[in-house]
Amino acid sequence: MSLELLIMFAFGGAFLTYLAGKISSKLRDIFALLCSVALVVIVSSLYKVETTITLYNGFFGMPLSMRLNPMAWFFAIAIVSSSALVVLYSMSYMKHRERTDYYYFMLLLINAAMLAIVLSGDLVSFFISWEIMSWSTFLLISYNRNAALPAGIKYIVMSLIGSMCMLVGIISIYTAFDTITISEIVQHMATATAGYKLFLLIIFSITFGIKNAVVPLHTWLPDAYAESPSPFSAVLSGMLTRMGIFGFLLIMFVMVGAENSLHMGRGFFSYHNILAWLGAITIVIPTFIAMLQNDAKKLLAWHGIGQGGYMIVGIAFGTSLGLAGGIFHTLNHAIYIILLFLSVGAIEYSTNGLRDLNSLGGLFKKMPIAFLGGLLGICGLIGIPLTNGFVSKWLIYKTLILGKAPFLAFATLLGTWGTILSVYKFLHNLYLGQLPQEHQNIKKTPLAMQIPIVILSLTILVFGILPGLPLKSINAMIVSFGFTPLTVSIWGISSETGTLNMINIFSILLVVVAIFWLIFQAARKSTAVDQYDNYAAGAAIPKDKYNYTVEFYAPFYRMATPYLRDIFDMLYQKIARFTEFACDNIRKIYTGYVSDYIIYIILFLALLISAQLKWSVF
């Protein structure tokens, strides 16, 4: 299986899916699913293959190439598998929506573009795929209309800013080194000055920072996540946003090289340290803002930003342990956030688009599978031991503590505790507590939506208990960056400063739970009661209009709301408003009076003459 075939399959599949949709929607669904499953098969068959191919020399004579290495493979498999699950999920979720052809087309196109990004062997094809991804994402974010429209504009404007920065960076590299192939750039980079490297790092960091929503550049994300269709929110948060992490890895550890990017500047004011601090801020502030959200998807979106911070901290700290943590967290985040978005999507599906945390509750009896997904998802998000999130977070904490960065560690840990609060609210207000009367007879979750949720839930546990599975290929990636490899075994990680043995913890917990479960069963059997048989000072709980999930952390709201505002968003809004104002006024120079226009002409003439007198052309 060659890479050309893979790329052809990805892009061609997207187009063909669209065409198939013109014939019949059932055919399209099946075709889309087959396509994405086929991609999974192809990519997994390429495990441990390292190859480079040149696609064509068409772009101004620059060779556009594809290459496969451990890093690319790792991201590629994550992309294609999440895509396959999401496509499967969409088969039910999108059934009664309009423009589904378009939806599938864009979804598959985005996946193809992401695949092309991670596989691209040179910067121009990287950029082209990046942009295809950006605009197709824009088209899909806007899919839900109404509130989605400003979100889409916000996204595409910030994305454009990012890509313009990247374009400048790429062209500057091309000008400096006369090549765009990454492997050749790596060789040339040794000759570059430190200042130039710093310039490259910064300008690419803006791009990837926007994509990965590092704090001052994050403002596109909450709206975009919240307003796109749920399966796509999953892709968006799981993989698409994390292309930023891929980019950071690419620029920091592949192109500029670890030995350069980790020694840029001095002391606190070094590139990677500032990046790590930005990551820390990214963890703390959005996590606390998430606590104030009342929209399930928006809450998850803010967490998406916050979790991105862990990855940034991990990879910016730049030890093999931290790097492994950061990369592993990227994968883990993808798994659990996709799961969470799919669970919320299931609720949206069942309750006809309701995702307001204040008006739902008690759904765990009605939608057990979605609840399972939600529970394991938030466990992973918090990093409860035995879920995958724990391992990666553990790696990051350990790196930070032993790397003598207690304040960074504090930020990361604090972020975790903030996460617990807000995701518990998420879980509680959606699934636990009282089931409102109007949701007693909600739609059932279809099988096609249940399967991905179950698969992802199991993956969370498997990766949590046997973290060695993904860590092995991450280890290969780290080695390719020139770091010392970790001692990874199937159950965890061991190093001279402490080991992590997940299967150990798992087995003990399992035994203890079993023992207590037996004790529990042996004790007097309990009577089952319904949710209205609750003690509320002797009063009967009213069945209608009774929902106490509103304002779950009311005391905290009162305390924190004045301080927890997204100042950057406000700043950008101000800038946008100012730009609009400027745009609205600058066109007033076209006054509509011909005499004014003639004056402009005369003025131009005068200007030219004075320019001649100043610069003396002749």
Binding site: G538, A539, A540
Partner: protein, 184 residues
Amino acid sequence: MDRNQISKWFKNPGKMANKYSFHVVYFCTGCGIIEIPPSITTRWDAERFGIIPVATPRQANLFLITGYVSTKTLKAIIRTYEQMPEPKYTVAFGSCPINGGMYYDSYNTITSLDKYIPVDGYIAGCMPRPEAIFIGVTHLWKLIDMDKADGYKRYRRDYKFYRANQEQLFKELGWPPLFKDASL
């Protein structure tokens, strides 16, 4: 006190523990509640007998009806009583729950509580002093020892009777019957 007799503990730990760990629903039904604070604080210190007030019937095994029971309160009392886990005991406190006391002809006070929930013991007086409470508790111990404090069993057995009385008083109770298969 026989809570130090190990053999009894081995014979029936549940019963013994129930005796010496009265968790009282701290539910203010009437004026008698004024006698509870002295009894649980420094002067009389109910805790030395293992009696402590708890906030929710789910954790309790003793229900003290402290004083007169108005119709409105009765509804909450029934609800609370039904939510207590078995075994559970009820002690009516003061003369009002027994026969209405000084409210014997009041339109909104019930005169006999045991029409609505089973009562295991009465402490007469208006008001009974805290010492009387402890005497009542020791009597209850004896009743438990003799398995005569069987109010909760009676409630289960005669549920239809109680439910009928309750429904007669309140047109709508607001909760389903506790036992489905209870017979008269």
